[in-house]
């Protein structure tokens, strides 16, 4: 029987990792992730989880340990944030290019400087092109459920890629809410029994040279196969979500969730992570007052569900992307650029970059209402008010939208 418990996001991540029965866990403490691994460590100390936890001197070592464990055929888990992820950069790349299905939770935190602890997906989005899959989730239930899905997606023979499940630091990592914890036997039935690699394995009976010096022509071939695996993952993500839904009664709509988007929709906000809840509330309030607005929650950033995003947003007069991060050099947020690429060549849709909530500031329902009102105006004004490179709107809590 599943149980309902009140818990914060880090505990939900820790419970999910334990339910997946990993063989090896390695992590280095960093705020706001630390309590994930503290929880797992306690579970192992109390003999509630049969796994090895490796104390390491840095995140670089944490990821390197997991690569060794994964190469030896172990199911592996880690968690990190911000500067810890940055220190992991070199082995982070190797994990994906060696096609090791490591699962790592990321409690999103701004990158310094300035010195900061609070939420922003700046850390993980900055490494979105390192070959990992990246999920961004909205609440603590979704953390738990997505981590369980993550092992199955990553280890699928059509995919074989490492995966991040990212959630906003403090908003989810340290906030408590109701979470349904599935029964271990149900999880065992959902998740394949262990990880059994055929493509790469440190096996004395079948020796192979791992990662030898590789010429450009072969490297190109491995890159092409890696890109194809990312694309194949889009279908696997949908299939795993459907199987998860059948097993546990909860679906997360695969890579993208369309909330109240219909044929009459005049404006849509695109959201990522914990801000989505406030966005839904704003959409509901505006709908009550007669406005035709909707929300698109981007759950998966890598692989980018470009076709799905394009089809859902095609024909919407105005689309705003709310980014809790920046793309230095583009003068917008990162997700705005991703969504814009997906919408390339689509006529009649005004696109508006919006930035809000940097450094863990609240993104409120009222801010989303302001954003939606601005979008309605832009959409009604038509092409005259939709330049090719619109200026970013910086949403703020005092209701003043500004371009800076």
């Amino acid at each position: 029987m599943s149980q309902v418990e009140v818990m914060n996001g880090n505990r939900a991540a820790g419970i999910a990792a334990c339910l997946a029965r990993p063989d090896v866990i390695a992590a280095y403490p960093i705020t706001p992730q630390s309590s994930v691994v503290e929880f797992i460590s306690r579970m192992i100390a109390e003999d509630k989880l049969d796994a090895k936890i490796c104390e390491v001197e840095s995140e670089h070592s944490a990821m390197s340990v997991l690569e060794g464990a994964s190469l030896a055929g172990g199911r592996t888990f880690s968690a990190t944030s911000s500067q810890g992820l940055a220190l992991m950069y070199e082995p982070y790349f190797r994990a994906s290019t060696l096609r090791l299905p490591i699962v790592m939770a990321i409690a999103n935190r701004e990158m310094i400087s300035p010195q900061t602890l609070w939420a922003s997906a700046q850390d993980s989005l900055s490494v979105r092109d390192a070959g990992w899959m990246q999920f961004y989730v909205e609440d603590n239930q979704e953390i738990l459920d997505t981590l369980l899905q993550a092992f199955r997606i990553a280890e699928d023979s059509r995919v074989l890629l490492p995966i991040n499940v990212c959630y906003d630091g403090f908003y989810l990592s340290h906030m408590s809410e109701r979470v349904v914890v599935p029964d271990p036997e149900e999880v065992d039935a959902f998740l394949p029994d262990g990880y059994h690699p055929q493509h790469i394995l440190l096996d004395p009976d079948r020796p192979m040279a791992v990662d030898p010096l590789t010429n450009g022509d072969l490297l190109t071939e491995y890159r092409a196969k890696h890109l194809a695996a990312q694309q194949a993952a889009l279908e696997v993500i949908e299939q795993v979500d459907a199987k998860f839904s059948a097993a546990f009664g909860r679906s997360w709509d695969g890579a993208v969730e369309a909330y109240r988007i219909d044929g009459d929709c005049e404006a849509v906000v695109v959201t990522l992570g914990s801000m989505t809840g406030a966005g839904r509330e704003a959409v509901d309030r505006m709908r009550e007052s007669g406005a035709s607005v909707g929300l698109l929650k981007l759950r998966v950033v890598r692989p980018f569900p470009a076709k799905e995003v394009r089809e859902l947003l095609r024909g919407i007069p105005a689309v705003g992307v709310v980014d809790r991060n920046v793309s230095f050099g583009w003068d917008t947020g990162i997700i705005y650029q991703e969504v814009s690429s997906a919408l390339y060549g689509v006529q009649g849709t005004a696109r508006v970059p919006m930035i809000a909530g940097l450094g863990g500031q609240d993104i409120t329902v009222e801010m989303f209402e302001d954003a939606l009102r601005t979008l309605l105006e832009r959409g009604r004004a038509g092409s005259a008010c939709s330049p090719e490179f619109p200026e970013t709107i910086w949403l703020s809590q005092d209701g003043e939208e500004e371009t800076r």
Binding site: T97, R99, H199, I200, M208, P212, D217, L218, Y222, H226
Partner: protein, 86 residues
């Protein structure tokens, strides 16, 4: 598609890179001067020198032509014969 694998691995060991194509000078061993000491074998950075019975031979598929063997030979029994330089 050249590789049956999706990751950089190989069951036969390192991929074959014929470094001999880099060579601009060919080593020649003077069999009469050679005292069979094996110093050339120990110093060759690419392992191109092998011992065959009483003789030492150099595998020209892998010899890069660096000349270290010629430099180290205590009897001056190895010479580098340039191809491009007069």
């Amino acid at each position: 598609m050249r590789s049956q694998y999706i990751v950089p691995i190989g069951p036969d060991g390192i991929y074959e890179i014929k470094t001999g194509t880099w060579r601009t000078a060919d080593p020649r061993i003077d069999e009469d001067a050679c005292i069979r000491c094996g110093i050339c074998l120990m110093h060759c950075p690419v392992g191109a020198v092998t011992r065959e019975g009483e003789r030492f031979t150099i595998n020209l598929d892998y010899c890069k032509g660096c000349g270290i063997c010629a430099h180290e030979c205590p009897k001056g029994a190895i010479t580098m014969e340039g191809r491009d330089t007069a």
